[in-house]
């Protein structure tokens, strides 16, 4: 067993530098690596290119990095929950590359799987296809899309072990899965770090080989963006 443990977020992100490209797992605020984001805010690493499906909200998630203008370029599929984002983008302070969500996920997965490029129909006939190679398959045009090339992937899991094996919870798996192993170095923060042998080898979502550093995070806020509920059944009815 190859031990991937580091002490904490500070040690995990110690060599993330100005100008680097970093992938962040999560969908909306669900399953985001809160500890590593906080540490990057704390260290004020700037000029980052961030690959993340969303850009957080004004005061949480990647919104914290945006607020301190640490992000030079954002690669996302949907950024509609963030007023500061919109302001920086429309003013030209922030470079933005919008990519269809499935293409974004597949570009991460391609990097994870050592596939340099693949064809997808998504975005044909739209701005997204501009300047890209087009090829027909079964009479339908497809776009050639390239794997992402990131310095770091930062993912968040529910459980992990010393060997770097990861298990995600419910819909927090999302982009954490295809990003694990997609960057040159993958950092995983987990809610619960257990000894090797504690996770069923048949039920590991991401094998440890994809992860270079792992630590147990602290103080997860796990903020909910849209709290929607139904009324409890009224037993008097």
């Amino acid at each position: 067993m190859i031990d991937k443990r580091v002490k904490n977020a500070a040690e995990a992100v110690k060599d993330i530098e100005t100008g680097m490209t970093v992938m962040f797992g999560g969908f909306g605020l669900c399953g985001i690596p809160e500890n590593c984001i906080a540490e990057l805010v704390n260290k004020n690493i700037g000029q980052l290119t961030c690959i993340s499906n969303n850009a957080g909200v004004d005061d949480f998630g990647l919104g914290l990095l945006l607020h301190k203008k640490q992000i030079k370029k954002m690669i996302s599929s949907y950024v509609g929950e963030n007023a500061e984002f919109e302001r920086q983008m429309l003013s030209g302070e922030l470079e933005v590359e919008l990519t269809p969500q499935g293409t974004l996920a597949e570009k991460c997965r391609a990097a994870q799987a050592g596939i340099p490029a693949f064809y997808t129909p998504a975005g044909y006939g739209t701005e997204v296809a501009e300047g890209k190679e087009i090829k027909d398959f079964n009479g339908k045009p497809h776009i050639l899309e390239y794997a992402y090339n990131a310095d770091f992937s930062i993912v968040k899991a529910w459980k992990g072990d010393y060997a770097g094996n990861l298990v995600f919870k419910s819909s927090a798996r999302n982009f954490n899965y295809p990003m694990a192993g997609a960057g040159k170095i993958t950092i995983a923060e987990v809610e619960e770090l257990v000894e090797p042998g504690q996770l069923d080898p048949n039920q590991i979502h991401i094998p440890g080989i994809m992860v270079q550093r792992i630590f147990q995070g602290t103080d997860y806020e796990k903020r909910i963006e849209q709290r929607t509920t139904r009324k409890p059944l009224n037993h008097a009815d």
Binding site: P100, G102, F168, A172, I224, Q226, R227, R230
Partner: protein, 217 residues
């Protein structure tokens, strides 16, 4: 004129037994409320959920269990979780039978625009471009005209496109229209709405064959 709920109710009649269905944000989300109990349908959420259930009871919300609209949800027996790459794999490989989504504009040949107003609003396309590029059956739920009273059903879209030649049906507060190889066919009108009302509210050319029946809700 239909309410948003009635638009959703009309669309629910397009949902058939044994379909996997992806619902977009807004009116499409409401469709789930009107699917009859006697058919088996599974809802897919592109952030990695199959077999989506109703919202949780108060106090039972789980930050790790949301839908693509970032709303807290539940999962039904027989449901499953998966990652975003796998999720769009099932979308691209056409395992999702029906996609219902909103739009800012639709053209008479089935082009759709719903992600960007240049210089004004750029929220991003999210999963919409993947969905419309791959889905066999795409129904758009939208308002027929914008706040200024201008038609959103056009000869050609003016906004940046989300997908080309992909929409199969449009359901608005006024009408149900079908995109056919011959053009956009008016197939139903809302209760109390005349064919003339619909023609006036529509910039696109509408094909009209004989009497256009009133919608059954």
């Amino acid at each position: 004129m239909l309410t948003k709920e009635q638009i959703a109710k009309r669309i629910s009649r397009e949902v058939k037994d044994r379909m996997y269905v992806n619902l977009g944000i807004g009116i499409p989300t409401l469709v789930a409320n009107y699917v009859p109990d006697d058919i088996s349908v599974e809802f897919q959420s592109e952030n990695g959920v199959l077999g989506m259930g109703p919202f949780p009871y108060e106090g039972e919300e789980d930050a790790d269990l949301i839908n693509a609209g970032k709303q807290t949800i539940t999962i039904l027996p027989g449901g499953s979780f998966f990652d975003s790459a796998f999720s769009f794999g099932m979308i691209r490989s056409q395992k999702v039978d029906l996609t219902i989504l909103g739009a800012m504009e639709v053209s008479e040949n089935g082009d759709i625009a719903n992600w960007k107003i240049p210089g004004k609003m750029v929220k991003g396309m999210g999963g919409a471009m993947d969905l419309v590029a791959s889905a066999e059956n795409i129904i758009v739920a939208m308002m027929h005209v914008n706040k200024a009273g201008e038609s959103k059903i056009l000869k050609q879209c003016t906004l940046p496109l989300t997908g080309v030649n992909c929409v199969k049906k449009i359901v608005t507060e006024l009408a149900v229209m079908e995109v056919t190889p011959a053009g956009l066919r008016l197939i139903e009108r809302a209760p109390g709405v005349t064919v003339d009302d619909i023609i006036k509210a529509t910039e696109a050319h509408l094909l009209i064959d004989g009497d256009v029946p009133e919608m059954q809700l």
